[in-house]
């Protein structure tokens, strides 16, 4: 079963994404901040990680950096979720190893789920996804 790990500080968002991935029959694990995520992810070994950029304590880009330096987690695809429509943030995230950059307000939850599914499918085919 595909396991999606959602790192999101805002419960409104985390609950919404938890629902859609549950509806879409994914296994979902969650963390409400970066530290918690870094603690849980190595043990959880998710298929894919959805990582919010703007979070207290440690932001998403810092978490991404840590994930990509840890051999245990570095091969797990990371999709950045944000509500900042800054193109440069997207580029920074992609340069640090994220596979996709999704602006939350621009997509319905179902579309996000579809994109994740596409990425997982593509990732197994060793395709390189492009920026949305």
């Amino acid at each position: 079963m595909i396991k999606v790990f959602i790192v999101e500080d805002d419960p409104l968002m985390s609950r919404m994404y938890q629902k859609i991935f549950t509806f879409e029959k994914y296994e979902v694990e969650m963390a409400s901040n970066g530290e918690e995520a870094l603690l849980k992810i190595p043990g959880a070994q998710p298929t894919i990680i959805l990582l919010d950029v703007m979070m207290p304590k440690m932001n998403g880009l810092q978490v991404l950096e840590k994930l990509k330096t840890d051999p245990v987690t570095k091969s797990i695809p990371v999709v950045m979720l944000t509500n900042l429509a800054g193109q440069q943030d997207a580029e920074t995230a992609l340069s640090k190893g994220a596979v996709k950059y999704i602006v939350k307000s621009e997509h319905e939850p179902k579309e996000v789920a579809d994109m994740v599914q596409e990425i997982i499918a593509g990732y197994t085919r060793n395709d390189i996804p492009s920026v949305s």
Partner: protein, 765 residues
């Protein structure tokens, strides 16, 4: 050398008067001289005539004398009959003749001669009498006397002493014997010096002289004549006077002549034959008068005239000076004084115009000039006051350097900005120096002095932004002050305290990032959850009303997100904070993708969306940010769709004639716009509706066109309304720059590096 105008004019006047006076004098003198000469000539002529007459009269009297003697019976008897010539008779007769001689007073001697030239009786010594008879001059009058007439000889110079004498001869008749009427001749020896007594009657300084036919001097009116400077000669034969006399010029005057004493003289001569035309009366009378004496009265008159002339001259000069002083010098001086005061800055100076002459005109010109100056000065003062007030009321520190004397000037706020207020004293009195300023700025790593030097010497502007100065952030901007003839006279330096602005700028950035996150997160939740309800709980939502309500909530969330996005886009574009990822792009691809995405929506509205493929083919790539370009196309097509109820939208593109741009046209068959509405296009929040109340119907923030315009302009193009006809539709267009060769070959898209990007989330505290 400075010579006063007054003196110059006086000199000119004096010279003029002297020259004019001299000419007048010359003319008067000449006329006077001529008149005098004529007058004197006639005087001399008269004197000569008179003298001649006197001489003639005298000679006539002497003739009468000798006739009287010859008429005596005793004389006749004595000559006629030698027998009666006794010693007694002879002595008696000699006594009688001597008495006569003394009585008449003019006779030297009387001699009786017979017809054979023998001396019969004489009062003279017999030898001398004999000698006299044999003189050459004796014959002519003797012959005349023998013929029965009275005659006289020329003047003879007798003896060694040369005493001039004259011989008078009268026939002695025989009273008793008719056959021999003339028996002898009486010879009267006239003593010439006594004769000359007549000449003295001419009187005064006039000198009369008698010369003979050879020009030899015979006698004159007096010895004192020589003292009068007259030319007295013993021989006149070669003189002009004598020649004129010979030519029988009755009267001649010679003027001027020079004698030994260099005096002028007048001369008149005459040869008088007159009514006593005795034969052999051959001598000339020369009358002379000294010129200075002759001219003396005229000269005296002239001398009387000279002081009058001088007085007139002085009066004329005085009058002139007074007139000159009042009419020229004083007005000129007033002008000079006024001009000096004017030069000293008193622009209220005006000249009172007293006359409408050249000086009056000069004064008027001066007044006009002064008025012009006063106006300009006043304007300058006002301008200066305005400028000073403006500068002092600025909240920007202003420093001016004056290159020439190396001084500075600054406004009140500058020391406050730099924290240089010394003891709270007035900035006017406590002067800052440039060095102090430079020192003060050194900790901020700003070499202000060097920057100012460079600005003054090279004319270069400098702009030092974000200088950290203590707790403040400053912007220092410098520019050279250049005159019209391109000389740099100093620099103006502005010190702006941008601390507050910087803080505000940062808070704005944070506001936007928070707004974008905090507004969009709940909206995303509403949108996502409603969307999931609609997707996954269809069977629960049996009630159509409920379903519609949830659908409306969903749509509202979408619209709200759009609005938030528009606001954020507009703000970032306004601040130049939107980043652009340029790449060489195929415009057809972009437009096709938009058309593909929008077609379904538009089909629902039953309007077509057509892509004019023909015009899009073969277009060169453009240099744009793909996503932004898409946003623009979405906007324009969406906008066209909003206003179109029937027909549809056509998109076409073409290469601009200059081969620098591609132009994309969005043509709709919508309702079009009135000209008034067209003017409101492309402005913030302006929809092309004439009233605020009608805005709702089109559903939007009105930022679409504004954002599109900003994006296209950022990419180097231009959005325009090509045309719009009410009821027929509108044509919007935008241009995009073609990618250059280098741009086409460069690999990956790059974000514009010169724009500041959205604050990263890491900056969030």
């Amino acid at each position: 050398m400075k010579i006063s105008l007054q003196i110059k004019i006086v000199l000119f006047v004096i010279i003029g008067v002297i020259v004019g006076g001299s000419i007048t004098f010359y003319i008067v003198d000449k006329g006077t001289s001529n008149a005098l000469q004529k007058s004197i000539s006639s005087n001399l002529a008269a004197a000569t005539k008179q003298t001649s007459n006197k001489i003639d009269r005298f000679l006539y009297e002497r003739l009468v004398d000798v006739e009287q003697v010859t008429g005596r019976e005793q004389v006749q008897r004595y000559v006629n009959d030698p027998k009666v010539r006794t010693a007694d008779f002879s002595a008696q007769l000699i006594r009688q003749l001597s008495d006569f001689k003394v009585l008449a007073g003019t006779w030297a001697d009387i001699t009786l001669v017979d017809t054979k030239e023998n001396v019969v009786l004489t009062t003279d010594e017999p030898k001398l009498a004999d000698k006299l008879v044999h003189q050459t001059e004796f014959q002519s009058p003797y012959t005349k006397a023998l013929a029965g007439e009275v005659g006289y000889s020329d003047v003879i110079l007798e003896g060694t002493s040369g005493v001039p004498i004259m011989l008078f001869m009268a026939p002695i008749r025989n009273v008793s014997n008719e056959t021999q009427p003339i028996v002898g001749v009486l010879v009267g020896e006239l003593a010439w010096p006594s004769t000359l007594e007549i000449l003295k009657d001419i009187g005064g300084n006039t000198q009369a002289q008698i010369v003979n036919t050879q020009g030899k001097f015979l006698g004159d009116s007096g010895a004192e004549a020589a003292d009068e400077g007259l030319i007295l000669r013993k021989d006149y034969s070669n003189t002009e006077v004598f020649k004129r006399a010979q030519n029988k010029d009755q009267i001649s005057a010679i003027l001027p002549g020079t004698n030994d004493k260099k005096k002028q003289y007048l001369t008149a001569t005459t040869k008088e034959n007159g009514y006593l035309s005795y034969e052999g009366n051959n001598w000339y009378l020369i009358v002379q008068e000294p010129a200075d004496v002759a001219f003396a009265p005229a000269k005296a008159l002239a001398q009387e005239f000279v002081p009058l002339y001088v007085v007139a001259l002085v009066l004329a000069i005085v009058c002139f000076l007074i007139i000159n002083d009042f009419m020229v010098l004083r007005p000129l001086n007033r002008l000079r004084v006024a001009a000096l005061l004017l030069a000293a800055g008193d622009f209220s100076q005006r000249i009172k115009i007293r006359a409408k002459d050249e000086i009056g005109e000069l004064g008027q010109s001066f007044n006009n000039m002064a008025e012009g100056l006063q106006l300009s000065a006043q304007k300058l003062h006002e301008e200066h006051a305005r400028l000073k007030a403006s500068i002092n009321s600025l909240d920007i520190g202003l420093l001016m350097t004056f290159r020439e004397d190396n001084t500075i000037s600054y406004n009140a706020i500058l020391p406050r900005i730099l924290g240089l207020e010394l003891d709270g004293s007035d900035h006017e009195t406590a002067r800052l120096t440039l060095d102090q300023l430079g020192q003060k700025l050194l900790p901020s790593k700003v070499d202000l002095l060097a920057a100012i030097q460079n600005c003054q010497n090279q004319g270069k502007y400098f702009d030092l932004s974000e200088i950290t100065y203590g707790t403040k952030i400053l912007r220092i901007f410098g520019a050279p002050i250049t005159t019209e003839n391109h000389t740099i006279i100093g620099a103006v330096v502005l010190f702006e305290d941008i601390t507050d602005a910087k803080i505000l700028e940062r808070s704005k950035d944070e506001f936007f990032s928070i707004a974008s996150h905090e507004l969009r997160t709940p909206l995303t939740s509403i949108k996502g959850n409603t969307s999931m309800i609609l997707d996954y709980y269809k069977e629960v939502l049996k009630d159509d009303q409920l379903r519609e309500m949830i659908d409306d909530v969903h749509t509202s969330a979408i619209r709200l997100i759009g609005i938030v996005n528009d606001f954020l886009d507009a703000s970032r574009l306004e601040q130049g904070k939107m980043s652009f990822a340029y790449e060489s792009t195929n415009i057809e691809e972009i437009i096709e993708s938009v058309v593909y995405e929008m077609k379904a929506v538009l089909n629902e509205k039953h309007i077509y969306l057509k892509l004019d493929k023909l015009t899009l083919n073969e277009l060169p790539p453009v240099w744009v940010d793909k996503n932004r370009l898409k946003q623009v196309v979405y906007n324009l097509v969406g906008n066209a769709a909003k206003f179109t109820e029937e027909g549809g939208i056509t998109i076409s593109a073409k290469l601009e004639p200059d081969h620098q741009f591609v132009k994309v046209l969005v043509i709709d068959t919508g309702r079009g716009m009135t000209p008034e509405s067209q003017t409101l296009l492309f402005h913030k929040f302006q929809q092309a509706s004439s009233s605020l109340l009608t805005r709702d119907t089109t559903r939007g923030t009105g930022l679409g066109l504004y954002i599109s315009k900003m994006i296209v302009e950022n990419m180097g193009g231009k959005v325009s309304l090509e045309e719009s006809v009410e009821g027929k539709g509108s044509v919007f267009s935008f241009t995009l720059p073609l990618a250059t060769h280098e741009q086409m070959t460069s690999a990956a898209p790059k974000a514009k590096t010169d724009t500041i990007t959205v604050t990263s989330p890491s900056s969030k505290p």
